[in-house]
Symmetry: D2
Subunit: 234 residues, 4 copies
Amino acid sequence: MARVLVVFSSVFGANAQLAQLTEAALASVGAQARVRRVREIVMDDVVRPEAAEAEIVSAEDLDWADGIVLTSPSHTGLPSASVKAFIDEHHDSAVHGTFVNKTFAAMATSGFAHAGQERVVDSLNAVGAAWGCVLVPPSTADPTINKLDGNPFGLSFVLSHGRLPDSEVAAEVLREYFRRFTAVTEALAPLRAATSRGSAPGKVTDGAAGPASGEATGVRRPAHEPTTIADQLN
Amino acid sequence: MARVLVVFSSVFGANAQLAQLTEAALASVGAQARVRRVREIVMDDVVRPEAAEAEIVSAEDLDWADGIVLTSPSHTGLPSASVKAFIDEHHDSAVHGTFVNKTFAAMATSGFAHAGQERVVDSLNAVGAAWGCVLVPPSTADPTINKLDGNPFGLSFVLSHGRLPDSEVAAEVLREYFRRFTAVTEALAPLRAATSRGSAPGKVTDGAAGPASGEATGVRRPAHEPTTIADQLN
Amino acid sequence: MARVLVVFSSVFGANAQLAQLTEAALASVGAQARVRRVREIVMDDVVRPEAAEAEIVSAEDLDWADGIVLTSPSHTGLPSASVKAFIDEHHDSAVHGTFVNKTFAAMATSGFAHAGQERVVDSLNAVGAAWGCVLVPPSTADPTINKLDGNPFGLSFVLSHGRLPDSEVAAEVLREYFRRFTAVTEALAPLRAATSRGSAPGKVTDGAAGPASGEATGVRRPAHEPTTIADQLN
Amino acid sequence: MARVLVVFSSVFGANAQLAQLTEAALASVGAQARVRRVREIVMDDVVRPEAAEAEIVSAEDLDWADGIVLTSPSHTGLPSASVKAFIDEHHDSAVHGTFVNKTFAAMATSGFAHAGQERVVDSLNAVGAAWGCVLVPPSTADPTINKLDGNPFGLSFVLSHGRLPDSEVAAEVLREYFRRFTAVTEALAPLRAATSRGSAPGKVTDGAAGPASGEATGVRRPAHEPTTIADQLN
């Protein structure tokens, strides 16, 4: 049974609503879902109650997952700062290979049709790529998804008054998409098991910097230090 | 045995060289490779002999493949016009689901370090996404790939005098990457088989437009007509 | 009086319609417009008569222009191959600085809301950037443009049955946007004049490769050869 | 005299170094510069002293500026969370037109050549676009910039041990680029003056939501509420 983690950022509630619909869609196709939110760092004093119900995502949640769904509002055409802080905080896990061969899906919402939905899923997909995930974008080959104008690069939803305007249609497209996502996630299970053991084809070895790295930089949090890792923090 | 199609565009020979190294890397990790080139449509009168040796890619090659590797030079920060013509010509196959659940990898070359390598693999990955492929980007989690400054979103190579400056290093990073790519491709084989039968989880139904489409538009090539497909030609 | 060149790619006519509306909008805000089309290289046998009326864009048109508007359908989330061929064919002019300090605007159409409109204007804006143009994106600060869900990164239009569904609304947003575009273009006129003379602040010197370049590569079209230019063809 | 604001994010000091070199380059071409940093929100406990010397950027700084330079490290191929928080916090100013017709430049650093430098400047340029700025990317037409492999979409710098490896070369490319940036900024001065008065060609009217907006949502910070603005927070 595929374990899928749904991580969302929400201040006014739309992405919390989308995450709940995603949880239901995952259940309907036989996956096990966890819904978690990121810590909001901008406008954190006005987060709506319905957006704050889920638990904050933890490293254990990320370890647990076979597949990761990351959904963000479009803020100035990019993922929210809160989503980005979540990504930055788990950079170490990424370079250590924690996410390798997990499946990944990006989703986005915005208040207007062309306000960054494609840009946001592109940015999130780049994160999945850097993490070593296997990306399963929706495609243009599925007429059910197309009916909803569903972005082929990552499902995206135009809001009306801050909410998904037709939750029935959204639910339908989510079920359709996550059936395939779950099937891909399950097919990759043996590979993930082998990767974790560190002994099979597809293995990605530990990217941790050696001890010299800490000496060179001398700060307290060695895992965040410049390392021999391509995408280091700088 | 995973069947991997390597499609390249090359005028001056660098991508042909890269495709050959990729073929060798695939063989070394137990995959079966076909190397094909796109028809060059700009500067076709100056294509170097070594760039013209491979056969032109066909629809049969695309059907045959379990995984697709698409490599392009960066021309003005985008894939070459010749690569784009190849993509446009196979739009119908894409919306009919031909490429669903095949794996996909993007590669790029350029003469300078920051001349569009990231943009090119991003554009190619978007094509793989629209086609319904499963994307397997290199990640930042692999120290061997990082050694080559290997773009985590898709392998990319800076040329020197129009050639890969160190083919040994390139060969090493290609072997490392395609080991994982091949493993993912093999893990998805049962799913692709089920998809082709049209009866299993992960199935994507035929996106073809009905007969009304041809009537509405009245042109000769119905498959290129505006349809109910999200990414129609317009 | 600002001279603005509108370059479009169109098979089925939508972008030809958009180019005509743009010409009218430019006239209404006091700019002088030329509307030109690119040579279609895919599906060139089915180009509609209304899409083929304009002249093919020439190097002289590009020289003439103070501002350049480039509009493309979304094909698989990218500009059409025909637009890309146009870009590749004028690469030499770009690296020689022909387009420096001209203004640039990107536009896109697609049959569905999230079928690549943001990606297409992003790709076209990258071309304008590589060309040395000054980009004047629409922004989210203009309520008239927002009314049309008008993409803040470049105006984009969702088609209905292959045409702009409400040409009055499109005309309104085009007038609003091109008023600002024209004002910026006019403000930069003294700078462009100085750039052309090669003697003023803002000058960009000739990027042409020296004679050694041709010797090293030995092909017939020296301007297309690998040079010391960052974005060379390879 | 063009007033240029340089905003950077820096934990380990590289972007602070880059901002200082930019300040010197601006001074050498006759511009007036302010260098400001964003508030660091991730790893804020390990910010190096040299990265913390500049003042935190304020709304007044943004108002003051004729041109804005935004520089970020690449973190997982995107601007840092701290840069994104800065962007989100000034969303209201953006939709109210504060930044319209100011010039904009994006810069990036990373520890490896292909670790997101192109992606970061692309994301930052999208922010400048949404803000209504006029973008002045470096281009491929300038051989001095090309010498440094200087990204044509926005200057970017590969670090060595967390620092710019050759500050002389960086200084040269910054002087070359900011000469043109300053000239464009000065040429647009009359247009910005007219825009501020709200009475001239190029004017963008106030995008503020009416009073009904607050009533509909009932939260304390009306300026962050869903409005009729395309790129609203959601």
